[in-house]
């Protein structure tokens, strides 16, 4: 029988359509069908200035918007040859790790909810609410912040912001203990996740998996540690790796990443340097509002950047960062004008989704839901 797990389904985490060919309860063939959220962002980017692309990048992987911003900003800064001041880099790492916690909380809540543990969902979203309030304090927006701009970050964090982050960071590890209390030793959870949707390291690498999906199978590779960017070389953190390659292993990896990320947030708060939050490049970076209102040159630069953009020297760059889902990459090609010639987003989930047939064929239907949840897909990234 061919069963359609349609684009509208509570457990597919977005508009993913999965075609299941089943024999009784066993899945014989599984084929994902994507494209329901395709909005042509890559085409739109070719018609906008470099700084106008930044809000579009937020909406690609909408659960970790600042990571998208970071990747695009790093790529364009590489094209321009801009040096980013240390405070901007540390702020970027701080916000990036808070975004990672944000994304993993959504993953944990929805994954547990799909498998049946409904309580965890509300607990995770309670913590997420605190983080979203922090994002609103720093940028005015809860989710699609566009806080990282080309040349640094958009605004100085408000007074008392770092104290609020510190208070959250002190409170958070006990919450992770709460989630683990509910799930990790729970016999129902272990029966539904241990040994389910197993994938070996060779298959995972060959099929293009990255991030916790790859680390759950024993491959110790994390872009933040192995090919660092934006100041990550100054941070000490462990990269959690599990060996079994099943849903439980990926769960353990991500929960450990929650703990590591909050430790990195503490490190970022301890070591936050003083200084400018934007690079010293008047042709690229918007001037301060006060300067724009009082100095003529700042006004002219502001006008030119907004209406004409800034020309980027010709060339191409592929910049990859470690998003909560894996290797997110931006390939930006410039032809010397103020509009990018081509922007391509390498979506971590598009490659991770290719693991689904290997994971699910020969198993039960109920395991499909667990497998989709453990890959942690976001359709915005897959479809763009």
């Amino acid at each position: 029988m061919i069963l359609n797990m349609g684009p509208q389904h509570p457990s597919t985490h977005g508009v993913l359509r999965v075609l299941l060919e089943i024999d009784g309860e066993t899945v014989v063939r599984i084929m994902p069908d994507i494209g329901y959220l395709h909005t042509g962002i890559e085409k739109i980017c070719e018609a906008k200035f470099y700084q106008q692309v930044v809000p579009l990048t937020d909406r690609i992987d909408y659960l970790c918007p600042m990571t998208n911003n970071l990747c695009y900003a790093l790529a364009v800064e590489k094209l321009l040859g801009l040096e980013i001041p240390p405070k901007a880099q540390w702020l970027r790492v701080l916000m990036n790790e808070l975004t990672r916690i944000n994304s993993h909380l959504v993953w944990l809540g929805t994954h547990a909810m799909d498998i049946g543990a409904l309580t965890v969902f509300l607990y995770c979203f309670r913590e997420r609410e605190d983080i979203l309030r922090l994002f609103e304090a720093v940028s005015g927006q809860r989710m699609m912040t566009s806080y990282f701009r080309i040349g640094g970050v958009a605004l100085e964090p408000p007074l008392g912001f770092f104290d609020r982050v510190r208070e959250f960071a002190n409170r958070f590890p006990s919450k992770v203990d709460e989630y683990e209390n509910l799930l990790t030793g729970n016999p129902i959870w272990t029966m539904r996740t241990k040994g389910v949707a197993r994938i070996t390291a060779e298959d995972a690498i060959a099929l293009g998996a990255s991030g916790p999906t790859l680390r759950g199978s024993g491959v110790d590779f994390d872009l933040r540690r192995d090919m660092p960017y934006s100041g990550y070389e100054n941070f000490k953190f462990k990269v959690p790796v599990a060996q079994e390659g099943d849903v439980f292993a990926r769960y353990v990896c991500r929960v450990q990443e929650l703990r590591e990320s909050i430790a990195m947030v503490q490190q970022a708060l301890d070591g936050m340097p003083e200084g400018a939050i934007k690079a010293d490049a008047p042709k690229v970076v918007l001037p301060d509002r006060e300067k724009m209102k009082t100095q003529m040159e700042a006004l002219i630069y502001h006008f030119k950047i907004i209406t004409e953009g800034f020309a980027v020297p010709a060339g191409e760059v592929y910049q990859a960062v470690e998003s909560p889902r894996g290797e997110m990459g931006y390939y930006v090609v410039s032809d010397g004008t103020a509009k990018p010639y081509r922007v391509h987003m390498r979506a971590a989930c598009l490659a991770n989704l290719q693991l689904l047939p290997k994971m699910c064929e020969g198993r039960l239907i109920a395991d499909v839901v667990a497998a989709i949840g453990s890959i942690d897909i976001v359709l915005g990234e897959i479809d763009r």
């Binding site: 994507i34 494209g35 395709h38 042509g40 890559e42 085409k43 739109i44 070719e46 018609a47 590489k78 094209l79 321009l80 040859g81 801009l82 690498i205 060959a206 099929l207 293009g208 491959v219 590779f221 192995d226 090919m227 490049a281 020297p313 060339g315 191409e316 760059v317 592929y318 990859a320 290797e327 990459g329 390939y331 090609v333 010639y341 081509r342 391509h344 390498r346 598009l350 490659a351 989704l353 290719q354 479809d383 763009r384």
Partner: protein, 165 residues
């Protein structure tokens, strides 16, 4: 803003291990190379791409065992029009390299690399869907993002941003 100038001369870059390996196998496979902004790009001749990828994947010195991405750039109206781009990553050695293949407009077709890295499956389907480049040997070359009955290839430069509908 200090950018080192790009090195585009193959003679200056021929010491790079990937180029040495490729030229050792087939000197005509490498059409050119570029080292710009700390990134190495190698232009590969069109008929040699699948073998070149297999060679780089199995290279004992620096095995490029991970395919990060397959994508395409449309340089309309210049010829050669299309440039298919492969981003490779070596997980053990933490190195990246970019392979580029230039294709004409008349028959943009290329051999698929799904036999080398199965992860190329969805990437090549997307390049086919949005640019119209056919990959021979692909197990399931169908449209992936656009609806099945869509006509035209949206990311080409002669397709308007607003679309036709």
């Amino acid at each position: 803003m200090t950018l080192a100038p790009a090195i585009v001369d193959l003679e200056q870059l021929k010491e790079h291990p990937a180029i040495v390996r490729l030229r050792g196998w087939n000197p005509n496979a490498v059409e050119g190379a570029k080292f710009d902004r700390d990134e190495m790009s190698i232009y590969i001749e069109r008929s040699a791409i699948r073998e070149a990828c297999a060679l780089l994947r199995d290279d004992p010195g620096c095995p490029f065992n991970y395919l990060s991405d397959v994508t395409c750039v449309d340089w309309y109206p210049s010829e050669p029009r299309f440039e298919v781009i492969y981003h490779l990553l070596s997980i053990p050695k933490k190195e990246r390299v970019r392979l580029k293949v230039r294709l004409d407009n008349d028959s943009p077709a290329l051999e698929s690399v799904t036999s080398v890295w199965p992860s190329a499956n969805y990437f090549e389907r997307e390049v086919f869907d949005l640019f119209g480049i056919r990959f021979s040997g692909h197990p399931y070359l169908r449209r992936i993002q656009m609806p099945e009955n869509w006509e035209g290839h949206p990311l080409r430069k002669d397709y308007p941003v607003e679309g036709y509908r």
